[in-house]
Symmetry: C2
Amino acid sequence: MTARIGFIGLGIMGAPMAGHLRAAGHQVTVANRSRGPRVAELLAAGASWADSPAAVAAASDIVITILGFPRDVEEVWLGPQGLVAQARPGSLLVDMTTSAPSLARRLSEAASARGVLALDAPVSGGESGARNAALSIMVGGTGEAFAMALPVLERLGKTIRHLGGPGAGQHAKMANQIIIASTLMGVAEGLSYARAAGLDGEAVLDALAPGAAGSFQLNMLGPKMLARDFAPGFMLKHFLKDLSIAVAEAEVLGLELPGLAQARRLYEKAASVQGKDAGTQAIIAALTC
Amino acid sequence: MTARIGFIGLGIMGAPMAGHLRAAGHQVTVANRSRGPRVAELLAAGASWADSPAAVAAASDIVITILGFPRDVEEVWLGPQGLVAQARPGSLLVDMTTSAPSLARRLSEAASARGVLALDAPVSGGESGARNAALSIMVGGTGEAFAMALPVLERLGKTIRHLGGPGAGQHAKMANQIIIASTLMGVAEGLSYARAAGLDGEAVLDALAPGAAGSFQLNMLGPKMLARDFAPGFMLKHFLKDLSIAVAEAEVLGLELPGLAQARRLYEKAASVQGKDAGTQAIIAALTC
């Protein structure tokens, strides 16, 4: 069954995701701040271009957004020419940006007031997950909205979980980022220690990866840390954005997370040393050695 | 080829390890501080009992120790009736305790002065790794000593790596513990956050485990954290011992590890709240929620 799907935000995540939906035979209308080679490729594959969120909404039954920052989401969804104001009642809006749970609840309420369905559905798995349609997708919203979205989300990810009402997807994503923040800090500290102790880093990785210290982060970013390869899979500036949201939400919840606070200080230091566009593995550059 | 193997330290790790060596047909002589049911089982399987390290050394070509604390290792290896003084020149001593790299170098020097071979070979993989002969073994020492030990170590572990000279095995194990310390802190903080946000913990684990937040620690201890099951796989008191060694060695190396320092404070708090015999997953009890 093909649907009319709008897709706003064609970055390193969004572009391949929109491509999967087009490849599945859906009618895809895209919009993006800029119109570079990734957009050209999608149009060549048969997607249509729209000049505004309003135009995307007019052409679509389901609109997906995956943007940079919460303020971008707010503008695209809640502006006067935004998705919520322009979407047809009964249509579905899905925000896959990692954003604030409190904003997700506001988006859902605004949509609901117009008879529009809404979901927060942030993802995990990075660029390779997006390219291979192997993302984990954490979904918050009503059961009705989830049921409508599921066949589309199944084209984008492998693990798709409905975790609760509006904001629950973002909360789960925050839990995910909180775990990653300290896991990767541990990897950086362990590998820094190994280097300072004069060990061969690759032999250590090889010995540790199958054991109790093993993790996705160790496997993916440990080798890059050893090679001092800070090219971004996931940029520090985006991770720092996620961590600020997590810190703010934890505070609202009355929860103290000292590991997260410490990790965030190191990611900030890494950004000041290596630049905000460096990958998260640059945290190792924040350690004195 | 069967060997005469001595085994000192028959705790939850050592007892099944000694059992594997006996099951492989080796002549095994054991000693332990106490003589409980685990020892009785080994003797029933054909191991011989010895009353002292000296008696173990006299009966063995290779002696393995896996004890609680560095001071125990020092006593068993370096005491007047200890292994180094009593071992036959050309025989091999292997310490599999997680202990200080600096002590490993001292043991190796003392052994070498008597023509005795020595290795540091701490393990990762916990009780289940010991029971299933699936440990990761990180080895430091000479190539000659490693070659002599390898056929025996292969009965105990799956990933066996020679990482450098004396102390290199302990250094690699410290890197391992440093990584685990913050990884598990991240898991505890992420799951605490999820709970505070009102999410279903098991659904969150299920959504996060296959993705970028995934780790051995999340898989093994995440469910126990959710169930507030603090029964030990690995006791806080032993982990805290490892972390003190890591902190001290990092200081010697001039390395600042703020994540490790923060994690250690939380494990200490967990030990004061839940007791030192609780498992490492009790770190979640150190978070206010």
